[in-house]
């Protein structure tokens, strides 16, 4: 009912994805703004830097990790099954993609078009997930984390040794490019891999890839969001909240845990294939435990169990290193510029030469202190700890609190 948001006259209205007009408008505005980022410089009041190629790359990276985070969120956040095996399934997806999509040569490859290799990168990891799932879903909690940890190591060993697929530890291999073809024709229908003119605008390769990733992320998000309000989605949440109680209510625990495992693996596979192609060349060591942990960090920082949390988390985790880097560079400029309190504070923080003291050094081989990379690691560790202690619902929890503050207005509840 218009202007009566709580008056639900049907169940579909009760569980609508976008219950209010305000939400619809806000989301549409956000999507339009996001889609316009590549032509940022020709739009007044739009932050120009977003249209730069390195920012386009960063944002594509965010979108790809967003897709991956949606997968782990489904399994760990929604269904409550802590898994460290995400990197394995991402790697699996990447290599399935490359076998289907890369041209044949020294290494395996069938050169099929993207509309085949990308879905296959989801389907096959899902199938493998369902295959190994029964062993994994019999255990819960930490034991499940350990069982899935095993997958990562098996995977790493396999990728290193299946040289005819992966190219081995040193060379790695080139992954298929983002080009839409009907079949194997020369000229692609839509080429995301080179600069070009779209709708009268000069669009760079990076911006094209960004738009593709944005589109895929929207599809992945809608699917994930929708899943949460289906019978399966409710079953996942019931299992997370109390598996025994869920089973007593008639939720088939085994079936739904397996389903969560499968769907999560599909998301991981697609994200892995996209990531590999996005970077271009990958070595087997990419798909290691650190990647899994990074995804766990994303959903913990973003807010486990929520779709928007997964997206906010990946944006945060991908963009933070960039911000830290920009910040340290800005500090060193301050030092270079000269005098004043700020400069001396910056001087204490930054080490620019081997005999200069500083917490962070920005040049290789500068004095004692952390490199920017190490600083990022420290920051992530700290952030995960702080979020777990103070804001278990993550960034989403912060948003939730802000929202509830206004929702409860002028009361508190």
């Amino acid at each position: 009912m218009r202007s009566r948001p709580h008056l639900h006259t049907s169940y579909s209205a009760d569980q609508a994805l976008m219950p209010t007009a305000t939400k619809k408008v806000a989301l549409a505005t956000f999507l339009i703004l996001a889609a316009l980022a590549p032509i940022a410089s020709s739009i007044p009041f739009y932050p120009d830097f977003l249209g730069n190629n390195d920012w386009m790359k960063l944002l594509s990276h965010v979108a790809i990790f967003g897709i991956g985070a949606l997968g782990i969120n489904l399994l760990t956040g929604v269904a409550g099954q802590v898994s460290l095996g995400h990197a394995f399934f991402m790697g699996l997806g990447a290599y399935v993609g490359v076998v289907f999509g890369a041209p044949s040569g020294d290494l395996w490859g069938w050169g099929l078009p993207m509309w085949i290799w990308l879905p296959m990168a989801g389907i096959i990891p899902a199938a493998i997930g369902l295959l190994v799932g029964p062993a994994a879903v019999r255990v819960r909690g930490l034991y499940l984390a350990f069982a899935t940890l095993g997958l990562v190591f098996i995977g790493e060993w396999a990728w290193r040794n299946l040289k005819f697929i992966t190219g081995g530890s040193f060379a790695g291999r080139r992954f298929p490019e983002f080009q839409l073809r009907m079949w194997k024709e020369e000229e692609p229908l839509v080429d995301f891999a080179s600069d070009g003119v779209w709708l009268g605008f000069e669009i760079s390769e990076e911006a094209k890839v960004y738009l593709l990733m944005l589109g895929l992320l929207v599809v992945a998000t809608v699917l994930a969001k929708n899943l949460q309000r289906t019978r399966a989605g409710r079953a996942f949440q019931a299992i997370r909240d109390r598996d025994i109680a869920a089973e007593i209510m008639g939720v088939n625990e085994f079936k739904y845990k397996l389903m969560a495992f499968g769907i999560s693996s599909a998301y991981a596979g697609v994200a892995g294939a996209l990531f590999a192609s996005f970077v271009g060349r990958q070595i087997p060591e990419t798909w290691d435990l650190f990647l899994s942990v990074e995804f766990i960090a994303i959903i913990l920082i973003g807010g486990a169990g929520t779709v928007s949390g997964a997206l906010m988390g990946s944006a945060f985790v991908i963009l933070l290193p960039r911000l830290v880097q920009d910040f340290t560079e800005w500090l060193s400029n301050v030092i270079a510029d000269g005098e004043g309190l700020l400069a001396s504070v910056a001087d204490a923080v930054i080490s620019v030469s081997p005999d200069d003291f500083g917490v962070v050094n920005i040049l290789p081989g500068a004095g004692p202190g952390l490199s920017v990379f190490q600083l990022n690691q420290v920051l992530f560790g700290l952030l995960v700890i702080l979020f777990m202690i103070f804001e278990p619902l993550g960034l989403y929890g912060i948003w939730l609190r802000i929202r509830n503050y206004w929702k409860g207005w002028p009361f508190t509840y």
């Binding site: 709580h6 008056l7 639900h8 006259t9 409860g408 002028p410 009361f411 508190t412 509840y413």
Partner: protein, 624 residues
């Protein structure tokens, strides 16, 4: 849909409520007429479906042999079936008798045997159990319809019981055999047909069934419901309006404001789940027209205060600022007949975006364009507060015996503390000797059912209705209600005191739920006070005062001190003879089923005096 009547028969003698609903079903069949909540979803019924159900129920009544003038009683919470059976009964020229859901078995027995009901609707097992306790004393009762299927296994073999769906099925087959039988009955309807017995709540003595006929109702339709001038901008109720129905439908006020208003003007009726969920349902429905008894307004007011006290510091500060703002605006408007003054308008523009808008959304009155209070006295502070929030709340006055039709605070001409002006064109006077309000107009009832003596007593020799309320003129145009004649206390010093005024002043405190002033033929006034358990409990918790039960809390020395403060404040507003010298706390929450309150939550003074005799004796014999 049945075939419509030929134009020759259109020269109708009376527009019954059934006829009005049929007209709506013809003119706007697909608009929503009723909405009720079922498993979390507001299910909608269109006008054509509403009429279809009425028609089936009416045929069902015919198949049960209900004849002209037969009584059909309804013992249920507000729900569509209530209204459907009510209208169906009118359609077959029967008489509807409504019972309060809280009526205990003894009262069920009295009401059913007094009215001689032939068909009874018992909503669920609870009401059926009450009925079965006394059914042997009800020889006239033939069939019992029940709406909820649950819990009726014990009565499965009782041939008198029929489930609602079966009842409609009976109607369906009756209609197949006798098409047009209901229409024919409707054509025969006479203005003098009694359509309903509305039982008075019976603060003194047993309830009496006031007979309202079709002519009374029709007068009410035309002159009260369609009196557009009572509403802002002269826009009367219309199909875009939403009404929440939650007060017992057997009460004349709720019947007028919900069923009748929707039938006459096409507004949508929303049935609240129950009286406990009113606040939630209000929020969902956001009605545009809202009638409530003072108790509900006080509760809404108290919930605002209570919730703002729980808010964070900044919100608390803002709320207290805006409450003060609302009071200023409310006072300005109240002194200006309910309209904004320039100053209040400007202040309102500040307060509305800050707090009022959100606050009104929270209490469910964001869309409310006209609200009313009646049926009991209300504290002027409450009216002021809601006016300050921008809710146009008006006090009005009427009673069962004159179809709710006496005075009204018209939009733009309201006067705080009065019940407004008499409707234009009606007979209204205040007896100069007794101060009693008397009315005469076509809405005045036919008399009490089977009680010729009481009927005679209700009228003056020249045919005016005695309302039993003492009133006085304010500025020659508005009327102020002093009290019921029977309640006026004459102290042993010979002074006349109106207990209600003092009680209402006490009840403006959020801590006081019930108050009864005593002092007839005594040296001084005393009071029995019942606390509002929620607010006092909250108050005590904040002060770390441990308590267990209602009684325990009421007897805490700190609470006694709190109540003493309320009494002292009230005393300062009244003259010395009207001061309360002593008070005692009521040891229990008053309840209809225990016989302390009427179904409309009014004090039954006589039985109260009996029940709490010891407390009263104590107040007049002990020193403290």
């Amino acid at each position: 849909m049945e075939s419509s009547e030929s134009p020759a028969a259109a020269a109708v003698r009376t527009r019954t409520i059934a006829r009005l609903i049929r007209e709506r079903a013809m003119s706007s069949p697909n608009q929503v007429a009723l909405r009720h909540k079922d498993l979390g979803i507001w299910r909608e019924t269109t006008w054509s479906r509403y009429w279809e159900q009425v028609l089936l129920a009416a045929h069902g009544l015919l198949s049960l042999g209900v004849d002209t003038g037969d009584r059909v009683s309804i013992h249920s919470e507000d729900r569509p079936e209530w209204v459907i059976l009510d209208v169906a009964t009118v359609a077959v020229r029967g008489i509807t008798v409504g019972l309060y859901p809280t009526n205990p078995a003894a009262e069920v027995r009295y009401l059913l045997s007094d009215s001689g009901s032939r068909v009874h609707l018992a909503e669920d097992q609870e009401q059926a159990d009450k009925l079965m306790e006394v059914i042997d004393a009800l020889p006239d009762l033939e069939r019992v319809i029940h709406v909820e299927p649950r819990g009726f296994r014990t009565y499965r073999n009782d041939p008198r019981f029929v489930f609602w769906d079966e009842f409609l099925e009976m109607g369906r087959s009756h209609r197949a055999e006798n098409p047009g039988a209901v229409e024919e009955r409707m054509r025969e309807a006479d203005p003098d047909d009694v359509m309903t017995l509305v039982y008075t709540s019976g603060t003194t003595g047993p309830p009496k069934g006031a007979m309202l006929d079709n002519a009374n109702a029709e007068y009410c339709f035309d002159e009260l419901i369609n009196a557009d001038s009572r509403m802002p901008d002269n826009i009367g109720p219309n199909p875009s309006d939403e009404i929440l129905t939650y007060l017992p439908l057997c009460h004349v006020a709720e019947r007028i404001f919900s069923t009748w208003t929707s039938a006459v003007t096409g507004t949508t009726l929303n049935f609240a789940e129950s009286i406990e969920t009113v606040q939630e349902n209000l929020r969902e429905v956001q009605p545009t027209l809202f009638f409530a008894v003072p108790r509900i307004w006080e509760k809404l007011h108290a919930s605002v205060i209570l919730k703002s006290r729980d808010a964070t510091r900044f919100k608390r500060l803002l709320m207290s600022l805006c409450s003060a703002l609302a009071r200023v605006i409310g006072r300005q408007r109240a002194n200006n007949g309910g309209r904004h003054t320039l100053r209040s308008g400007i202040l309102f523009m500040i307060g509305y975006p800050l707090v009022f808008r959100a606050l009104r959304e929270r209490i469910g009155l964001r869309r409310c364009r006209w609200a009313a209070t009646g049926a009991a006295p209300i504290a002027p502070e409450v009216i002021e507060f809601f006016h300050g929030l921008g809710v146009n709340l008006y006090e009005l006055y009427g009673m069962t015996e004159n179809a709710g039709f006496a005075t009204n605070n018209f939009y733009g001409r309201m006067k705080l503390g009065t019940v407004g002006e008499p409707y234009p064109g009606i007979g209204f006077r205040i007896d100069p000797e007794t101060g009693e309000i008397q009315t005469r107009h076509p809405g005045v009832f036919r008399g009490y059912w089977n009680k010729p003596e009481e009927t005679a007593e209700a009228f003056t020799p020249d045919g005016w209705l005695r309302t039993g309320d003492v009133g006085e003129w304010v500025d020659g145009t508005h009327v102020k209600i002093v009290d019921r004649i029977k309640h006026i206390i004459i102290t042993s010093g010979g002074k006349n005191v109106s207990p209600s005024e003092i009680e209402n002043s006490l009840k403006t405190s959020p801590f006081v739920k019930e108050a009864m002033v005593i002092g007839d033929r005594r040296n001084y006034l005393t009071a029995l006070v019942g606390i509002e358990f929620d607010t006092v409990g909250d108050w005590a918790t904040r002060r770390n005062i441990p308590y267990t039960t209602y009684r325990d809390l009421g007897e805490k020395p700190e609470v006694l001190e709190l109540i003493q403060g309320v009494i002292t404040r009230t005393n300062s507003r009244f003259s010395r003879v009207e001061n309360i010298r002593k008070f005692r706390m009521l040891p229990k929450e008053l309840d209809h089923e225990d016989g302390e309150l009427t179904a409309t939550q009014k004090l039954k003074r006589e039985s109260m005096e009996e029940m709490f005799e010891e407390l009263i004796i104590d107040m007049y014999s002990s020193r403290s």
